[in-house]
């Protein structure tokens, strides 16, 4: 597996913590445990700047509930599946844009794809960088894949 620079690790961790705090009022902290991921629907977005990245977001059902309910200020059961997916995709959209700026700065033209729902996620052994987080007791995982 590639070694990730400390600066890049800090950029990813800071971006994740700040985005979830500001958008979803959720305390998300880097975790030393190795989260399980890929067991349910995840999300992905392409980010292009100095290099091409694909960023995956995975979280437990309970974490999804917390994010969506905090943003909507409404119960999960009151929301449609479209509203729920849109909410989770939007947080990835914000995360992707913020991450591009954190990694490469504002001098680099960063292009963001459209976030999408994915059912297949890369695994830990697939040459990707896995960032494990704890979202108020629930696993939340960000996976960065370099695409040249």
């Amino acid at each position: 597996m590639e070694v990730i620079a400390e600066r890049e690790r800090t950029a990813v961790e800071t971006t994740v913590m700040e985005t979830f705090a500001e958008m979803a009022f959720l305390d998300v902290m880097p975790s030393n445990s190795k989260n399980e991921f890929g067991t349910s629907q995840g999300f992905a977005v392409n980010i292009a700047g100095n290099e091409r990245l694909r960023c995956y977001l995975d979280m437990s059902i309970a974490a999804k509930h917390a994010v969506v309910e905090n943003i909507h200020a409404d119960a999960w059961t009151e929301l449609s599946s479209e509203e729920i997916d849109d909410c989770l995709l939007e947080i990835l959209n914000v995360l992707g844009g913020t991450l591009g700026r954190a990694l490469w700065g504002e001098a680099v033209r960063c292009k963001l794809g459209f976030p999408e729902v994915v059912v297949m996620m890369p695994g830990r052994g697939d040459g990707v960088h896995v960032f494990d987080f704890d979202a108020e007791g629930e696993p939340l995982t960000v996976i960065m894949e370099r695409r040249g």
């Binding site: 504002e106 960063c110 963001l112």
Partner: protein, 128 residues
């Protein structure tokens, strides 16, 4: 700000983002606004043929017609070119800001949007 309550058009393909933006305008300005919503630039232009708005708040990264093209089309229209535009996007870089500046857009809010960020921009526009 118009005396009899303003109409704000929010252009964003995410319904969540539109909801958050509306909430932030309410918190920031403490006013009741009439909101119009559009899912992309093309949808917004279609609605603007029939309706008058006082402010446009638009995302950049949208399907069908992105925010930059949308703003360019507004600026090319005699009917619409004087409507103030605020760009709200998760992307922020010098090239995008330069493009928007050429289109006469100085007000840029980076997502995640907050009442504080909205308040600062609206103060510059003289709405607060």
């Amino acid at each position: 700000m118009p005396e009899n309550g303003a109409t704000i058009m929010i252009v964003d393909d995410s319904s969540t983002s539109r909801m958050i933006t509306k909430r932030c305008f309410g918190f920031a300005l403490g006013e009741q606004f009439t909101f119009m919503e559009a899912t992309d630039g093309a949808n917004a232009l279609s609605q603007l043929q029939d309706d008058v708005v006082d402010l446009i708040v638009t995302d950049i990264n949208m399907p069908k017609m992105d925010g930059t093209t949308f703003v360019w089309k507004i600026r090319m229209s005699d009917q619409l070119k004087r409507i103030p535009v605020v760009v709200l996007s998760s992307m922020k870089n010098d090239a995008l800001k330069a493009t928007l500046r050429e289109l006469g857009v100085e007000q840029f809010v980076q997502k995640p949007v907050s009442p504080v960020k909205v308040g600062e921009v609206m103060e510059v526009l003289g709405w607060r």
